[in-house]
């Protein structure tokens, strides 16, 4: 069976960033869960910082530059996606949203997506449910039930007996994504062809007589 293709989108801005760190952890947990099912995994990571100016330009010109096109293709062709953003002003960052604005409307349709977010304080954790999940629902993605929020404290915290620690949440989320992508990643992608509706059909739809 062919390898499972995972795309990881990180909207972290510093280098290294806690957003990228969380993204890598989620990717690793998914890999482990898939390898347990004896599936090979190919992980491809898109740092949105690297295509930030091309994203901005695509709004003014209407077309994507080469690096942005390549990033969009990697995300579109993946069997599953891990999308992680820092919390800015009570939501995902503008850069994160802009990338998904640039993608084709149906690029994520039916695709399993694992959501992650990072912030300085745990008070923003519901950004996952109130901002991110509706965005991906709109894009008709299949969001993984467990979404992972990592506040600064989480990186050092152990199990407190009430909520599972960050590593355990990451492992659970990765397991859920693996469960959703494994059965999807079986078919080979078909060759892409320009789809054209024959003109007679377009005329018929309008009941215009052919000449």
């Amino acid at each position: 069976m062919r390898p499972v293709k995972l795309a990881v989108v990180s909207a972290g801005l510093s280098e290294p960033s806690s957003t990228r760190l969380l993204a890598d952890r989620l990717a690793e947990a998914t890999r482990v869960a898939l390898e347990d099912q004896e599936r090979e995994v190919e992980i491809s990571t898109v740092e949105l910082r690297d295509v930030a100016t091309e994203i901005a330009h695509s709004f003014t010109t209407g077309f994507a530059g080469a690096a942005l096109r390549e990033a969009s293709e990697r995300v579109t062709e993946a069997d599953g996606l891990i999308a992680v953003t820092p919390v800015f002003s009570a939501s995902y960052s503008g850069l994160f949203k802009s990338f998904f604005d640039v993608l084709d409307n149906d690029a994520l349709a039916g695709k399993p997506v694992l959501l992650g977010a990072t912030g300085g304080t745990p008070r923003h954790s519901l950004v996952l449910e109130h901002a991110m999940r509706p965005l991906f629902s709109y894009l008709r993605a299949v969001t993984v039930p467990t979404a992972v929020y990592a506040a600064t404290d989480d990186w050092a915290a152990a199990d407190d007996g009430l909520t599972p620690s960050l590593p355990r949440r990451v492992a659970r989320a990765g397991g859920e994504l693996a469960g959703l992508v494994a059965p999807r990643a079986t078919q080979e992608p078909g060759p892409e062809a320009e789809e054209v509706v024959p003109f007679a059909q377009q005329l018929a739809a309008l009941r215009v007589e052919e000449e």
Partner: protein, 371 residues
Amino acid sequence: MTATTPIQFGIFTVGDVTPDPTTGRTPTEHERITAMLTLAQKAEEVGLDVFATGEHHNPPFVPSSPTTMLGWIAARTERLILSTSTTLITTNDPVKIAEDFAMLQHVAEGRVDVMMGRGNTGPVYPWFGQDIRQGIPLAIENYALLRRLWTEDVVDWQGRFRTPLQGFTSTPRPLDGVPPFVWHGSIRSPEIAEQAAYYGDGFFANNIFWPKDHFKRLITLYRDRFEHYGHGTREQAYVGLGGQVFMRKNSQDAVREFRPYFDNAPVYGHGPSLEEFTDQTPLTVGSPQEVIDKTLTFRESFGDYQRQLFLMDHAGLPLKTVLEQLDMLGEEVVPVLRREMAAGRPAGTADAPTHAARVAARDAEQEGAAV
């Protein structure tokens, strides 16, 4: 009369009223309109073949009434083909298009063709009683009616988008019984490439703002489908392309002078740099030789083609500058392009369409049918 050539060169204008960013001065509508008329005459004077004007119904654009403008130009020119870029097939009544352009054919002794486009400004549609969400169906139905109005003397019609016609004759009838050649302009829709192919009409890919890969797909689709519908080989299809240039003798002078216009241009200003944009799109800012070199790459990407239109007069460039640009285009660039593109043009490639050639082809066909 216009002679038959492998490829026609010309200019197309949007007709934008834009402040000159270097002086802050905005031309009046009247100045802009008379500048467009001056440029059309200049186009003929420097040996270009085509002048095409856009059609817009919202400021900051002035050309709302193309056939009025083209009629005036027809009277002041002798060889120039008058065309549009584009005529709105969605919001204009096809009856009025049929009449206006047939009248223009008579006035201009056949030096007329027309490029159909949909228009992408949502609010314009309701001003004319239409809805942009119906853009493609409007383009299909209205054009089907337009063709019948031009080819049939008496038309009965019922469609979805206009009141029915019974026993209607569009007047005047097309000159010599041959309607204007039609180009279908498109930036992104494969449906329009398919429409152009179905009728054996021309396909004009306005490639000036986007990278070439996208247009390669559209033009390949058009050529394939042209052949599929039995109008001839892929090479006999009629392809038109856009271009956008600014020239000075020295490349650096061109870049220096054009940069403020680029940086503030209505369509792409305040986005990527001039260097990035010239790298990714057909825009060329440099010496005449650089313009020649870049334009010659178009045929490698899209195959030998029949019409090349340049956008020369937008973004607030002063008339005097644009006239200098047309001098260079006519004297230094186009003669070389004509020579280079004629050489190595595969046999069987279609010549650029003219009224005279279309009348001759029609006559030959009728003679063939009579024998």
